[in-house]
Symmetry: C2
Subunit: 132 residues, 2 copies
DNA sequence: ACTTGACTTAGAGTTAACTCCAGGGAGTAA
DNA sequence: TTACTCCCTGGAGTTAACTCTAAGTCAAGT
């Protein structure tokens, strides 16, 4: 599979794909005789993994660390496990912030929708702290 | 309220607070006779607002836009409303990615916990796509 | 053989969001 | 008045994660 096909599949640029490989967020990709990258199904899973974690704000550095541990073999199960747990904590903490923001946004949007109709903006005091 | 007190309350640095003010993510803060910032309760709400949105990945640029509209008065209800809706879409989309990542992380952590005990790592094929 | 379009590298450039620094003023206490 | 801590500004520096550029190589079609 060529780099272009992979890009199309994941909606990312070739630069990003090469960047991930260069820094080690995905393993080295095999090449054709002519030196052109040839992605396997396994490679696609690694890309999926990197994109999924990045999408949840996990730093590239952490993904690199996981790939390294993976490549070091079965002695690193424990290290990988605690790395993943660390990542999970970060993602959970971030998601809570997202939930809080959504709650406030929903409240404000509701009030603004009313305000657009009535011409008057009202905040029910203290219903949601810190709204403006 | 001094800048230091505000920093303590929100666990951010004075630099960040001045930065938000400088770019307009919060309104201008009133000063003492000597030119030192004196934060009011209203200011704190704006800071809360900025931090809440930033915590959910909403770009500073968007927050600035909201503050601008707010300061332009009641003619901007509609504009503010659609800005908030746009922000909500972004936050919702991001949160879905977080959920997907969490699902995978939970699955992998479970498998790794078993692997640490048994010495063998098993992926139930296709249960979660793209796991490694 | 030639053209065309996709691929390669090393390395420089960009962007957002801070973060730090130098040089100086403000406020309180001894 | 001296000391000390906090605060001020303008501007430079940092960091992560890409993103782009130049100069060249590869592969397919005609």
């Amino acid at each position: 599979m060529t780099i272009k096909e992979v890009c199309g599949q994941f909606h990312i640029t070739a630069d990003t794909l090469r960047y991930y490989e260069r820094v080690g967020a995905i393993p080295e990709i095999g090449r054709t005789a002519g030196g052109i990258r040839n992605y396997t199904e396994e490679d696609l899973k690694w890309i999926q993994n990197a994109l999924c974690l990045r999408g949840a704000g996990v730093p590239v550095e952490m993904i690199i660390e996981y790939v390294k541990l993976f490549q070091q073999g079965d002695d690193t199960f424990e290290a990988r496990c605690s790395l993943l747990k660390e990542a999970r904590e970060e993602v959970l903490a971030a998601r809570e912030k997202y939930d809080k923001a959504l709650e406030k946004l929903n409240y404000k949007i509701k009030k603004y929708e009313e305000a657009v109709k009535t011409g008057i903006l009202v905040w029910d005091q203290e219903q949601v702290k810190g709204v403006l």
